[in-house]
Each structure stands twice: as structure tokens, then as C-alpha cells.
């Protein structure tokens, strides 16, 4: 019932968009998985979209359209296709679950450019994929968590078992183990990107089981708030959440999509758009760490040091020796993981105390 209602909602949202017949040079459209007010993932994408519009000369130059809370799966295809028919020149689909839908629609509209975030399928020449190396930030978080945790165990609120999220958990664990080899991470799968209540409940469950640091790969600020209430530390997600935990947030991985969106829409205007597969991180400032707060100065220094090393390319979070969860060898001493393996990551590294949902 809920599912079908969401699709009605999605359809209604598409219909209500209508067409504002402005004389803009280009129409850029965005499909979001959550509400733009989630203050997390979708919020940051929308900020990036607005930044792009501003940078390219405002409403008179770029027409912006977006759809919020579009369910992943079959409904997404309808939403994207509506966009394609409504005169969009470039469509950004900003969640992993839109992968097949994006490619399916792209096949039918070869003249429209499609940009899919966090996926790996580019079945048509008009589909690009883009992603950020969030795991670089997760590694730094792991280092911080292991340095300040007294319990020696952190809680990880995960969304769905997709490569992106698995990679984040692995990077966090590797970072933590670089400080304390016995450090434990408890993983709870919320099986949602956005449900403040459920995310808060997951945070409570983890705290009740003794974790004293929490990190999340879901999109709301609820876990941060629970951590603040219970007096433990937490990491923000996607945006700077310091307002929700002035004495709680250690740092946050901030997604900065603005310059990528500007670059890509400009390419459409200039007629220079080409298929790309972009995966950039701290070095290109796609991933920015919020200020290090609520931790001793030596931990701050340690975190800043690792951040600098990742930025300069001196260090990669996935550098061997690393074993898989079952103890079998994955990366040899000094070996760095290939991008392809990471982007399709479906296994845990040694030391993760969870069974990966398959």
C-alpha cells in the first residue's frame, strides 16, 4: 500500500512540475531519493545544484527542476522518463538504486545527457557516472573513533548493503585498527536511507549495547541527536551536523557536489559533454572534512595528518596488507586496491564483527 502510494506521490510530483517556459539555455534536472530538507545526502545534492545554477548565471541561464523522495526501482524509471519528456537537457539521478532505471531511460533518449551518482553502469554513450571517495573520510573517522573510544567499540548505522556502504564500513574499520588492532565495530542495518525515528532507534540500541562512538551511513540528523542526549560522540553524515551536537560531533564527511555539477552543466551548454566515470575525493575537494571538534589536540593532529596524507596521494586507505573477513589474503603488503574492486565491493575486511547481508 505504501509503495503504491509513493508512486502516486511521485507521479503527482512529476505532473505538478509543469513547464516554466523560461528562455534558459539549458534545463538541468535532478532526481532525489529523499526530501531536500533531510539535512544530509539529498540536502547536499540540492545545495550543489543551486550552487551550479548560481555559478552559471542564475535562473535566466539555467532552468532547474527536481523531484524529491523518488522511490528507487520501477517508480524511478517513470519519474526519469517524465523528466526526459519535459525537455531536460541533462538529468542527474542521485542515488545508487536509480542505476538500471537511468540506463533504461538513457537508451530511449540518446540526445539527453544522464549523470548517475554512485553507480557503475554506463550502458549508453550518454550516461556518465560520478561518485566521491567518501571512504577516505571514513578512514579518518575510524582513526578518530579508535583514538577517543574508551569502550573500544563503535556503532555503525548502515543503510543498504551496496558497495558504497560496504566500502565505508571497511575503511572505517581499517582506520580504527591502524590505531587499535582490537577495535570492534557493531553494524546495524537500518534498511532505509531516511527514517529519522528508525535511525534514532538504531542509535539507541547501539548505545545500550555499550558503544561510545557512533557513525552513520543514513541521511538524517537523528542519530547525532540521540548521541548528544546520551552523552557520547558521533560523526555527522553528508553535511555539517554540528548544530545538532555542538558537544557531540567529532567531524563530518561533507559532500561537495557544486563544482562537479557546474562543470557538467557547463559542458552541456558548451557542447563539450562527454561520457565520464568520475571518482574524486579529498584531493579534489569532493569530500571535505568538517572541523575536528570535541577531541583532544593530539587526536586532532593525528586526524589532520592522515587527511593531509590522503589528500596528497601519499596514502590510500585500502593499502595492504589487508585480509578479507574470513582471513584469506586480499591485498599484499604495500598493494593498493583497484578502483573496480572497490566500486563493486561485496565483502568485509578482517575485523568487521557483522555478517554481510547478501
Amino acid at each position: 500500500m505504501k509503495k503504491s502510494l509513493l508512486s502516486i506521490a511521485a507521479a503527482a510530483a512529476v505532473l505538478s512540475l509543469g513547464t516554466f517556459a523560461a528562455e534558459a539555455k539549458v534545463k538541468a534536472c535532478f532526481v532525489y531519493v529523499g526530501p531536500i530538507g533531510d539535512f544530509g545526502w539529498t540536502y547536499q545534492h540540492h545545495q550543489g545544484a543551486l550552487e551550479m545554477q548560481e555559478a552559471l548565471g542564475g535562473e535566466s541561464e539555467v532552468e532547474l527542476a527536481y523531484l524529491e523522495s523518488v522511490p528507487e526501482g520501477a517508480d524511478a524509471e517513470r519519474a526519469i522518463e517524465r523528466f526526459a519528456r519535459s525537455g531536460c537537457n541533462i538529468i542527474f539521478t542521485t542515488s545508487f538504486g536509480y542505476m538500471d532505471a537511468t540506463n533504461a531511460v538513457a537508451g530511449k533518449f540518446p540526445d539527453i545527457k544522464f549523470e548517475h551518482a554512485t553507480g557503475y553502469k554506463r550502458e549508453h554513450p550518454n550516461v556518465s557516472t560520478y561518485n566521491s571517495r567518501f571512504h577516505e573520510g571514513r578512514y579518518v573517522q575510524g582513526v578518530i573513533a579508535a583514538s577517543i573510544s574508551e569502550a573500544g567499540v563503535a556503532g555503525y548505522i548502515a543503510s543498504f548493503p551496496i558497495p558504497e556502504v560496504v566500502m565505508g564500513i571497511n575503511a572505517f574499520v581499517l582506520g580504527a585498527q591502524s590505531v587499535n588492532p582490537d577495535f570492534k565495530v557493531k553494524v546495524v542495518w537500518a534498511n532505509t536511507w531516511f527514517d529519522p525515528g528508525k535511525e534514532a532507534d538504531a542509535a539507541k540500541a547501539l548505545i545500550d549495547q555499550g558503544v561510545d562512538v557512533i557513525t552513520q551511513h543514513t541521511d538524517s540528523t537523528a542519530p547525532m541527536q540521540v548521541a548528544a542526549e546520551r552523552g557520547i560522540k558521533a560523526f555527522g553524515q553528508a553535511s555539517d551536523m554540528i548544530k545538532f551536537g555542538p558537544e557531540t560531533q567529532l567531524t563530518s564527511i561533507i559532500d561537495d557536489w557544486g563544482h562537479y555539477y557546474t562543470e557538467r552543466v557547463k559542458a552541456v551548454i558548451d557542447g563539450t559533454w562527454e561520457q565520464v566515470d568520475v571518482w574524486e575525493g579529498m584531493a579534489e575537494e569532493h569530500v571535505v572534512m568538517a572541523e575536528y571538534t570535541n577531541m583532544p589536540d593530539d587526536v586532532k593532529a593525528k586526524a589532520a595528518d592522515i587527511e593531509a596524507k590522503i589528500k596528497s596521494g601519499e596514502f590510500d586507505p585500502f593499502t595492504g596488507p589487508v585480509n578479507k573477513q574470513d582471513g584469506s589474503a586480499w591485498l599484499a603488503e604495500g598493494e593498493v586496491a583497484e578502483a573496480g574492486v572497490l566500486l563493486g565491493m561485496n565483502f568485509y575486511v578482517e575485523g568487521v564483527d557483522d555478517q554481510l547481508p547478501q
Partner: protein, 304 residues
């Protein structure tokens, strides 16, 4: 830890219970309002806004209740006075509520809210083991239990309750007896709206003390399902809400403990449990028939 878990379950169950009790009264009067999610989110945004502007979470809760009731009045006017289709109007109410609340709440996104205080009674709250459970929870938790009792008593022990049920079972006969069907339904719908609003206020003032768009995340639909699950009996709604809360919190703990059961299955458990109970209940057709309001969802146009 055990104490904390029980409290977390109560927090998860309370908004479901309040919204479902409200909807139960609505459905007992023969009206099917599928707009619970919409009224709930309107309550959440109004509650947050009022508490944020005035600094008083109590005013916030009051505003949430009023917002839910006012919003339901729109539904009542459309379905009862203009006799529109109840299902379609209810769905529209949900869509409208989700959109409108997002628009109204835009300035409150990303603002820390004001939290409803927990009850504190000297000595009693500090009692070992049961102190916090019995005397230290949030005020709305106690209200929700009182509400359940009050509704159960009202529906089955008072004359007014009997009248309301008769309207829900056979509005034609009730009308013939001189009962003002439309007025009773208006009142019932507004009561349901007030409850849904309170449940929404609970979310933004206590559960997660902040305003985020779509923060109800489907809880209104679960409340609707709970009413059927409970076969329109108040105490069963209570049982259902706590069962649902217990399974949803329990599965998170099972995961954190590292119990080797696929997390997708655990996440689906609350819904599976609901389906199983529904199947068990509906095995006895006759009993189900007795409890279901016979005029549920049927439009009523008084003949002159």
C-alpha cells in the same frame, strides 16, 4: 540496559498507539480516513514550529493537536458535507499534508528543537528497577495509556459511545432514530485528526526533536494497519502497537549483538508479525464481521 530497551520500545509504540486510537474512533463512526500520515506530519510541523517560536514544548504539543484537528476538518467537510469519495480524499489529504508541511517547515529545517521534558517525581522516579519505567517516562506516554482506557470506556460503556458505534454500523437506522449522523462523524473525524496531530507532535518534540521533511516516514500507514490488526478494539491496538514497537527495536538489538540472521529478514519482522496476527484473527470470519463497522467507508446522504 533492559530498562532502556523497554523505554525505547515505549517511545516507538506511543506515536503509533495515539494515531491508531484516533483512527479507531473515526472508523468506528463509519468513516475511513486514509489521511493519517498527512495529519500526523501537519502535527509534527506545527508542533515544532510552535515550540521553536515560543520556547514551550507544551504549547508545541497543543499546536500539534490543533493542527491535526483543523487539517482533518478539511477531510470532514469534503467527505461528509460534499460527500466525496473517502478513499481518494484520504489519499489526497496525505499527499497534501506531506507537501504542505515541507513548504511550511522549510525555515525550521536544520534547527535544533525544544524537547518535552520527562516526568520526574522525587523518590518514586529514583526507585531501583521500576522507577524510570513507571514514573520517569515522557508525559505523552502516560497520556497514551489513559487515552486508550478512556476510548475503550467511552465506546463500550457509555451511551454516547453506543450512539457512535451505531452510526458506524448502520447510518440509515441511526438517522431514522433521530441521531445526527453527520455531526457525530464530524466530531469523530476531528478527534482522529487531533490524535494524529498529537502523534506527529510526539515525533518532532520528543522522538527526534527536530523538524525534517517527511519525518513520519510511513508511521501513519502503520497506524492505519494497526486498527484493522486490532479488529477495531482499543486494547488490541495497544497490544499491536507495543508488539510492533518491540519487534522493530528487538531486531536492531539482535543486529547489534551480531546474531547471524540476515538483517533484511529482521527488518521485515515487524511487518511479518503483523501479517501473521492478521491471518490468525481473520480465520474466525464471524468474529471479524461482528467487530467491523458495517458502514465503514460508505457515504451517507440524509434523505429528507
Amino acid at each position: 540496559m533492559f530498562e532502556q530497551i523497554i523505554i525505547t520500545i515505549a517511545t516507538a509504540a506511543t506515536p503509533l498507539l495515539i494515531a491508531a486510537i484516533g483512527e479507531l474512533v473515526v472508523e468506528r463512526s463509519g468513516v475511513l480516513n486514509l489521511g493519517v500520515e498527512g495529519m500526523m506530519i501537519m502535527g509534527a510541523v506545527a508542533g515544532f514550529a510552535a515550540a521553536f517560536t515560543t520556547g514551550s514544548p507544551w504549547l508545541g504539543l497543543a499546536a500539534a493537536i490543533c493542527a491535526g484537528a483543523l487539517f482533518s476538518l478539511l477531510f470532514a467537510f469534503l467527505t461528509l458535507t460534499l460527500v466525496t469519495n473517502q478513499v481518494a480524499t484520504g489519499l489526497a489529504l496525505t499527499l497534501l499534508g506531506l507537501g504542505l508541511s515541507g513548504m511550511l517547515g522549510e525555515t525550521f529545517t536544520g534547527q535544533p528543537g525544544v524537547k518535552l521534558p520527562l516526568i520526574y517525581i522525587p523518590v518514586l522516579t529514583e526507585l531501583p528497577l521500576v522507577g524510570r519505567l513507571l514514573f520517569g517516562q515522557d508525559p505523552v506516554f502516560y497520556l497514551s495509556l489513559l487515552l486508550t482506557g478512556a476510548v475503550a470506556w467511552f465506546l463500550f460503556r457509555t451511551r454516547a459511545g453506543l450512539t457512535l458505534r451505531s452510526v458506524g454500523d448502520n447510518h440509515g437506522s441511526a438517522h431514522a432514530l433521530g441521531i445526527n449522523v453527520i455531526r457525530i462523524r464530524y466530531l469523530a473525524v476531528m478527534f482522529g485528526g487531533a490524535c494524529a496531530g498529537a502523534a506527529g507532535g510526539y515525533l518532532s518534540l520528543l522522538y527526534t526533536t527536530q523538524w525534517i521533511e517527511s519525518m513520519t516516514a510511513g508511521r501513519g500507514w502503520i497506524a492505519l494497519a494497526l486498527v484493522v490488526f486490532a479488529s477495531w478494539r482499543p486494547w488490541r491496538v495497544l497490544a499491536g502497537a507495543y508488539l510492533f514497537g518491540a519487534v522493530s527495536i528487538g531486531q536492531l538489538h539482535a543486529q547489534a549483538l551480531g546474531i547471524k540472521i540476515p538483517s533484511q529478514f529482521l527488518s521485515a519482522l515487524p511487518y511479518l508479525a503483523t501479517i501473521v496476527v492478521l491471518v490468525l484473527i481473520s480465520r474466525n470470519r464471524r468474529l471479524t464481521m461482528i467487530n467491523t463497522p458495517a458502514s465503514l467507508g460508505r457515504p451517507f446522504v440524509p434523505d429528507r
